[in-house]
Structures are given as structure tokens and as C-alpha cells.
Subunit: 413 residues, 2 copies
């Protein structure tokens, strides 16, 4: 959908995503901002569907985020709806924005069922432009006639903004003897930063799980998936991840997150969330290199995460990697500026298989030519050991290229 | 000196800087890294010179920073030396780096006088490469024969790395009835971030001030000068600002920072520090726009500063300005991600004379065309009012352009 070059990490094709029993969906061209493409998606869970959510920690969230946070607090035995549009984020739009949210929820409730106050709303796109809800609600009757369980690929496309490919993942797990499906879709690809409940992602399963189980799993796994990626350190005002369970599957309900019957489901959900999060990074604006930063030996895990973020967000580290320069001096700088405990003389730094620096000086025998050869790889792994404790973390990121400037210097024009 | 285009904010010429009584200096081509240009500078203060300093808060400082921090703790009645080289930062170089520092200080002491442990050393350039001190000390005898009070312009050139113009400022003040001179030089221009004692800057005066007065003034004024600028959010491992007073001037000594006789001197020093700090930003790597961010109405000044930094360091804000897009939505995002108290519905945002957003929605009557016209200006002023309290701060920065990527993707190659 983007006019910019497709990410070199784009998959060859979108995965073949089966229906998830208990869910159906439709997309439409509402013309919110884009022309000639879909920009609206309605996902519906059958009555009894439970939904968990995590939202941006940005202090200036959009009206849809405020609304969905409240929806999360309400349970409903009726159908549950998730309405998503791209093109306009409905952020910083005042009372008119709040009215648009309410109008959309009412319209969706009318046409697709369920109480309006329990509708989840997600918007992504430009900030600060008035949202014309009538463009969205006008599509609902036609969409209602086209609701299908098999529209995951279309849904993934409808929520894209500057993404260069749609992002989806499907996996099955067993609860008791019953197979359950988990589907997820997500979108990026700028204003992506860790330490928050990141961009838009929607995950659905037919498993029969209580809301408390869903919320516990989502909150737990978001830490090393969506909250472990960063494109540009900029935390969006609209980030939302929703996890919905229709309960269609034929197993006895699970109401405790520590229930041993969840073992395979947990593994599958966790894998799905990590995959979607990495798909977002791999479509980071202007990406030419995918970067994994492993930090170990920090005083604790939080400290390790902050150091990893400092490295992954450093413009100088990101541009060096774009330039295929194994410039580990900039990694030293980024470790030191993080404000976390660090001892220069205990620090070691590797890139891929090469130990570059150790104990406060360049590693014996390291040749710049080895590093230079490694830096040609499309996927770069940086390992930093602080030598202080057991704290560790992994952060996923991308480089900073001319493509990022191209995309963001003329996004609105 | 840079192979990249000269900053559009470069002054037409270097200021005509008079000698500062009590100081002399020389530069040389030591060939540390660069060829065909000076890369070494020795500044000498006469016996009795007092020196104050502030240093990087990066946790992985270079060996010269460690050394100079200790030198600051030592007073000496003999000549005081500041030895500066560009091309190699002598950071992350282990025991060999510490040896190089000692060898340089000993060599300087031998040739220029003063105790070696009281020599200040500053290095800027590549991180993690062994420093050959003999290249530096070999120049000292010849430099000693060329020491001159009038070499400020040459000194400013010798300390440059990716700077596109030398940075200097001179001002006079009165203490009692005695005129005193203050000269300063500085260098940038990447790895520049606030909240630290920033890049290399050297300030000299002939005023007769105690070390405690000098240190108090420097520490006070660094906050809204060097610590209020950011190019790329990356805090260097070598940042050092030194303020030296020879005491040559013919006034009674000043030993209390609140002495009313310092009034004009304070104003002059403060102006000099702000000017040098702004010169660093105005030569920020790849700069096309100079950005001033005024934050008011925050809960306190520190909160205002953090919000200002969040705006000034946001890649999305910086690229929007590079693209001449009055994209205030990204400013909302940057306010919200700062982690400081903020209320979307009390926030107002202006760019130059235009009020863009107010009370949680776009300002009535604002036309995108007005903002677009203003964004053509080379100097952009952003005003953000939080509407919460009396906290305020100003941050100076530059945009993020293709030039920054060009410079930093191939800095070492």
C-alpha cells in the first residue's frame, strides 16, 4: 500500500489463515483518507466472547484509546465488536473526536449487534484532523451483508498505514484433547517504541478462556514481544493490542492462568505475539537491516532492557549499521548514556560471532575486516555483557536510513 | 574541514578574538588521524590560573575525562595546561589508553611547565582505537617555540571533527573599574545530547576569580546553555567544558559567587556560553533547520526540560521539520511519550506566530497553509504550553536530514 519500497524482510506471501470459530469480519473502502484501498475493518466475536487489551502509555492518547480502555472494563454476553480504521487516528480532536467515537460505536451496535459501550474502537493514521464518523457508519450496512469468517488477509490489509506488507500469523494449540486456533494481525510501521503496549494488533482464538486468563496472558507476553521492539523510539498515541476468545472450542472452560491445560496454548500464543512484533520491526520505516540486541550481565532485567533500548534507539548506532560499519564505539556510548549501572572495564561487545571489545579495550585479535564482512548481513545481532549481574533483555530494532527520512519528511504531503 | 556541505547557519567569518592576558597557545599537525590539518592544541594559563570544569555524565567516559576530573580536584600555583587533540577520543582503550594519557601529561609538563597531574587532557574523535601518545608529545618542543597569546582562531580549528565551521565567541565585561576579556571556543557536532556537560568547550578569562567562583558559575550556566542543546540525543563519552581564569586583570580578587561586582561578568559569561552552545547546534550534523522548543506550564522546570527534550529528540518531529511540515500531531505524541504529567485537553501548541492546537483540538481558524508557509523559515520556534503549572524550559535542536545519515553511515570509512 505504501508508495515506498517494500521492506527487504517482507515475506513471500501472507500466511494462509483459517477461520477462527466464533469470529467473522468484513472490510470496506470508507475513504477516510486513502482512496482506492480498504481502510475499515469490523471484527465480530459471537456472544460470550471475552476480550483482553493493552494500550499505549502515551499521556496524550487518542479518543478511541480512551473509549476502548473503558470498553475493556465492561463485560457483555452479547456480540463483541472491534472496529478499526486507518487514515485518521482521531487523536487530539477534542469533543468532536469523542462524538465521532460514540457515533461509530452506536452505528456498529445498531448494525452488528452488541451494546455500543462494549464496542472496541481503534484508529490509526494522521493526528489532529477531525474524524468524519459518517464515512465509517455509512459502510456498516453493506459490510454486515458481507461478514465472513475467512477475511483475515483482507483485515490485515485494511489496517495498514505506511506498512509495506500486511502482517498476520496463525497457529494451533491443544487444550485438553481439543485443537484451538489462534490468529493474529498487526500493523506498524513508524512511531514504534518499546515500553508500552504497542501498535495495533488483534488476536483471536476460539479457546474457552475467562477474561482474567486472557488479560494475564496478554499482559505477561507483551513484555518480550510488542514491548521489546523499537523502530524510532517514538511511542504512538494509538497503540492497542486486543486478544479475543470466542469460547467456541469444545473444551471445559479455563479460568485460572496457571491451569496446566494451558501449557501448549501459552507457547502458541507467545510465539504468535513474538512473530507479529518482529513483523512490525521488519517493516520498520526505511529498514535495510534487522537488528537484535541481547543485553546480559546487567544489575537486573529492567536495567538490561533500558540499556538495550538505549542502544537500539541511538541514531548513531542505527546509522552506523545502515552504513555496514561495525562501529562498536557507538555502542559503548549508548551503554554509557542509558543512565544505568555500567562499568566500562567489565563491558564486552560482540557483533554476530565476533568479539569486538572486552574488559575496557578492543578485543585481542579482532580485525576490522571480520566485522566489516559480518555487517553486510541483512540481520545483525549485537551482544552486550555488562559483567555486573544476572539481568538480561532482548530488544529488536531496525536501522536508520534515507528511507526513514523520505517517508517521514513528507508523510502528510 | 568536513567533506560534507557547510551548515547554512555558518557565520560569515570567525570572530576577531583578542588575546586574553595570562594565556598563550599553539596548534600543530600531529597526524593523529587527519592529514593536512591541525589536530592538536595546547592552551597554557600562567601560574595562578584557576580552572573549573564539567564533564560528560556518560557512564563509559574516556581515559582523558577520568584524568581531567582528577586534575580538577588538584590546585596548582604553577602554569596550567589544557592539551586537546581531535581524531581519536582515547575511549575504551584500556590500560594502553591510561598510559597514553599519562605519557601526554608528562610530556606536556616537561615542555610547557606545571605539574603533570594538574594538566587537563581532552580528546575527541573515534572511539576504541589505540592512541599513540608519541605523535602528540613529538610536537610539543616545536609548539613551545610558537606559543602565542593570539591563536584562538587556530585553536578553534584544531579541535574540530565533523564540524563544518570553527566556533568561537569573545566578550568583555567590567569587574570594579577593570575591563576583563572572556574568550571561548567549542566543537560539535554529532553525539550531542542534553542533560550532561556537553561537547568540548574551552573558556578563558583574565578575571581574578577563585576556583569556587568559577566552578559555581560554570555549573550554574551550563544548564540553559550546553545542557539545553541536542543534535541527536546521543551523549558523548568525551564531553568536557573548562573555564579558566588567569587572574591577570587588575582588580581585587573575587572569591564569592554572590559578590555584586560580578554582575556584568556573569551576564557576559552566560551570553558567551549560550552563544557557543547554539553554535554547536547550528553546526549539528546535516542541519537544515535550527529549532527552538519553548515549554511552559509544566508541573516544574525539570518536567518541562524532559518534555522539551522528548520533542527535540523525536525522530518523527525532526524529520517533519526537515520536510517543512507543521505536523503538530507528532509534537502531541512527543509530549505524551515523555512520561511527564500532561493533560491532552489543556495542551496548546504554536509554531512561530501560529497557534496550531489548543485545549485538546486543532485551533479554531488555523489554516495548514499558514503553518506550511512558516515552515519554510530556516529557524523554527515551537511553543508548547502544558497548562498545569509554572515549569518552563527551552531546548535548542536541529532537524534530522539525509545529511545526518550520510555523515554517520560512513563516518569511519
Amino acid at each position: 500500500m505504501s508508495k515506498y519500497p517494500v521492506s527487504p524482510f517482507a515475506p513471500e506471501s501472507f500466511p494462509d489463515m483459517p477461520p477462527v470459530p466464533g469470529f467473522d469480519m468484513a472490510t470496506a473502502e470508507a475513504g477516510v483518507r486513502y482512496q482506492g484501498r480498504t481502510d475499515l475493518c469490523v471484527l465480530r466475536g459471537q456472544p460470550g466472547t471475552e476480550i483482553a487489551g493493552v494500550f499505549t502509555r502515551n499521556k496524550c492518547p487518542g479518543a478511541p484509546v480512551d473509549w476502548s480502555r473503558e470498553a475493556l472494563a465492561r463485560s457483555s454476553d452479547a456480540a463483541r465488536l472491534i472496529v478499526v480504521n486507518s487514515g485518521n487516528a482521531n487523536v487530539f480532536t477534542g469533543q468532536a473526536g469523542r462524538n465521532a467515537v460514540m457515533e461509530t460505536a452506536l452505528g456498529a451496535s445498531d448494525i452488528f449487534g452488541g451494546p455500543p459501550e462494549a464496542v472496541f474502537l481503534c484508529s490509526t493514521g494522521v493526528i489532529g484532523e477531525a474524524m468524519d464518523a459518517s464515512k465509517i457508519t455509512a459502510q456498516f450496512p453493506d459490510m454486515a451483508a458481507r461478514m465472513t469468517p475467512g477475511g483475515w488477509g483482507q483485515a490485515a490489509k485494511a489496517i495498514m498505514t505506511t506498512d509495506t506488507y500486511p502482517k498476520g500469523f496463525t497457529i494451533t494449540a491443544m487444550i485438553d484433547e481439543t485443537p484451538v486456533t489462534i490468529n493474529g494481525i498487526a500493523k506498524g510501521s513508524g512511531m514504534i517504541a518499546p515500553d508500552m503496549a504497542t501498535m495495533l494488533a488483534f488476536i483471536a482464538t476460539d479457546a474457552k478462556l475467562s477474561q482474567s486468563v486472557l488479560q494475564a496472558l496478554l499482559s505477561d507476553y507483551v513484555d518480550d514481544s510488542f514491548n521489546a521492539v523499537t523502530v524510532d523510539s517514538d511511542t504512538s498515541t494509538s497503540d492497542t493490542v486486543l486478544l479475543a476468545a470466542s469460547g467456541s472450542a469444545d473444551h471445559a472452560p479455563v479460568t485460572e492462568v496457571n491451569d496446566p491445560r494451558l501449557m501448549l496454548f501459552k507457547t502458541a500464543l507467545h510465539a504468535l505475539m513474538k512473530d507479529l512484533a518482529l513483523q512490525i520491526v521488519k517493516d520498520g520505516e526505511g529498514i535495510s537491516k534487522f537488528i537484535t540486541v541481547h543485553v546480559s550481565g546487567a544489575v537486573n532485567d529492567m536495567s538490561a532492557k533500558r540499556i538495550g533500548q538505549s542502544i537500539a534507539n541511538s541514531p548513531l548506532v542505527k546509522t552506523a549499521i545502515a552504513g555496514e560499519d561495525a562501529n562498536w564505539g557507538r555502542i559503548v556510548m549508548a551503554v554509557g548514556k542509558a543512565g544505568e549501572p555500567a562499568d566500562r572495564d567489565k563491558l564486552s561487545i560482540s557483533m554476530g560471532p565476533h568479539l569486538l571489545a572486552q574488559s575496557g579495550l578492543p578485543a585481542a585479535g579482532y580485525q576490522d575486516a571480520e566485522g566489516a564482512a559480518y555487517m553486510k548481513s541483512p540481520e545483525i545481532t549485537i551482544k552486550v555483557d555488562l559483567g555486573l549481574g544476572d539481568g538480561k533483555a532482548t530488544i529488536y530494532s531496525c536501522d536508520l536510513t534515507h528511507g526513514y527520512i523520505d517517508i517521514n519528511a513528507d508523510y502528510r504531503s
